[in-house]
């Protein structure tokens, strides 16, 4: 009798085998406290060594907004129109959520090597913890963002409530992105260095700072391509809701929902398939 048969006869399971989908989801759900606690602890530890501590969580987005508002709203304000500061603030704050899920998600596994190698738990908890952490800081920046918008004369109205489904879709999309990059860097460590540049490139090309329809007015096909850009769609919808700006294509909601589901399913499957590999290198 060989060893494999011996193992089978006695009902032994292969150690480290990827668990079935249902059991994996159940195990992950059982770790929900781990995910949220990890996110909260990581957030509080970020500023532990600075004197102002947690104040930085609010101060950083505020300073960001001030800089962009100053450069684009005041210095170039006359050429870009009066609503431009608010346009930039919404773009910068919301884009930050995407870029930090993209970049920090990539470090979720590679940056927690000792944890992955010593304890047994569904590894997907780590990219999920990153998304939850970034979601918490998005909530803080959005408080700052709303305050700035009100100061600029954009007062809350019922349309602001639509930000809730928008943020939900955007979060689902970013969760997929984080799970995807979390596995990518396990295979290609160099991506940890490259992804921040990709993220910065996207910052300038996703309409966070510039109005895409105006810049690329001479290339209508390019503008049409942007209709399929999930981050761009999110920014366009958010600006329209918050600034009572020009109307947007309502189909953007459909496209964005499709993107969110697609990213989530692909990101999850891509991550789950390699569950056995994490911690090996």
């Amino acid at each position: 009798m060989n060893l494999t048969e011996l193992a089978e006869q006695n009902g032994l399971h292969r150690v480290g085998a990827r668990p079935g989908l249902w059991s994996y989801l159940k195990q992950t759900w059982a770790r929900r406290d781990f995910i949220t606690t990890m996110a909260a602890y990581r957030m509080s530890v970020q500023n532990q060594q600075s004197r102002l501590g947690g104040v930085w969580l609010v101060l950083k987005p505020t300073l960001n907004a001030l800089i962009y508002g100053l450069i684009f709203g005041v210095l170039q304000g006359s050429s870009l129109g009066p609503g431009y500061a608010a346009f930039v603030v919404i773009g910068v704050f919301l884009f930050e959520f995407f870029s930090s899920c993209f970049v920090q998600g990539a470090k979720a596994i590679t940056g927690n090597r000792p944890l992955v190698q010593s304890l047994a738990f569904p590894r997907i908890s780590l990219p999920l913890a990153v998304v939850v952490e970034q979601f918490y800081s998005l909530m803080l920046s959005m408080v700052v963002m709303f305050a700035i918008l009100i100061m600029m004369g954009h007062f809350p109205n019922w349309k602001w409530l639509l930000m809730i489904p928008l943020v939900v879709l955007y979060t689902l999309f970013n969760t997929g992105v984080a799970m995807f990059t979390a596995r990518l860097t396990v295979h290609f460590r160099d991506l940890t260095q490259i992804l921040p540049f990709v993220s910065r490139l996207m910052f300038y090309t996703s309409g966070a700072l510039f109005d895409v329809t105006r810049i690329f007015a001479t290339y209508p096909w390019l503008v049409q391509l942007y209709d399929w850009h999930p981050v761009y769609q999110t920014l366009v919808i958010a600006r329209s809701l918050l600034m009572s700006d020009a109307a947007y294509n309502p189909l953007f909601w459909v496209y964005l929902s499709a993107w969110a589901v697609f990213a989530l399913v692909v990101g999850f499957a891509f991550f789950w398939v390699a569950e056995e590999r994490y911690g090996r290198e």
Binding site: T4, N10, V15, G16, Y41, R42, E281
Partner: protein, 246 residues
């Protein structure tokens, strides 16, 4: 192996482990000459070269061998943390590993490491509140529990990690050098804790360089050398052969 009526708990079937490591700078290849001696890039390390054995319930198994012989790699393969590149490990339940490499988040306080470690092990939040005092008391770190774990001495770190891991009831328990890290007093206490866990658990693996603790705790010993299983048998025989080989 006399597998008559004993119940197999762990089956290790021709396990190979090959690591790919990014060599930083120059790796010396003794077979190459001239400029080719300095090679850069990825090196692969063949840490386990086809290890097979069967562990049964109610066995305590010592694992010995010189540094770099593949002991820890074998233990991590048993837990599933190092997937074998060939062969397979089968077990009744996922084995648990009391290792020295259980550092969680070095920037977090000892207390938060307890909470996160416990949650990752699958405890509920309410259970951890109850376990916390027990863990702190066992690790004897009440004074320092609010300090970041990176400020701990290696002995203190090991004590805390051991206390967290040992808070769980184990079916298959692997102790990888965890006894060697503490001071004498902690060693005695952790040995007591391990015996306590072993009394309830089926199988214990103990990796150690201390032949005294191997002799005290194990009835069977695996001797590894350069990734190969040299000898597998009763403690006295294997330890004697191992000591004679040095």
């Amino acid at each position: 192996m006399d597998g008559s009526d004993r119940r197999p708990v762990v089956v290790v079937d021709d396990v190979h482990v090959e690591y790919k490591v990014y060599a930083s700078g120059k790796a010396v290849n003794p077979n190459a000459k001239g400029l080719r001696r300095a090679t850069r890039g990825i090196r692969s390390v063949h840490a386990l070269k086809g290890v097979s054995f069967v562990a049964y319930a109610n066995e305590s198994i010592g694992v010995i061998g010189s540094n770099g012989s593949g002991k820890s790699t074998l233990m991590r393969a048993l837990v599933g943390l190092t997937p074998p590149s060939a062969g397979a490990v089968y077990a009744t339940s996922r084995p648990n590993l009391l290792g020295v490499g259980a550092a969680l988040l070095p920037d977090l306080s000892g207390e938060r490491n307890i909470v996160l470690g416990g949650l990752a092990l699958g405890f509920q939040k309410s259970e951890i509140t109850a376990l916390r005092d027990q863990i702190v008391e066992f690790a004897e770190l009440a004074e320092f529990i609010d300090l970041p774990m990176r400020t701990y001495s290696s002995g203190m770190q090991a004590r805390l990690k051991f206390a967290i891991a040992a808070s769980q009831q184990h079916d298959i328990l692997i102790v990888d050098e965890a006894l060697a890290v503490g001071d004498k007093r902690f060693q005695a206490r952790s040995e007591g804790r391990i015996r306590q866990i072993r009394d309830n658990a089926g199988t214990v693996f103990l990796v150690s360089h201390s032949m005294a603790s191997i002799r005290d705790t194990c009835d069977r010993v695996l001797w590894l050398n350069k990734g190969e299983l040299v000898m597998d048998g009763p403690t006295e025989d294997v330890v004697a052969a191992y000591l004679a080989s040095r």
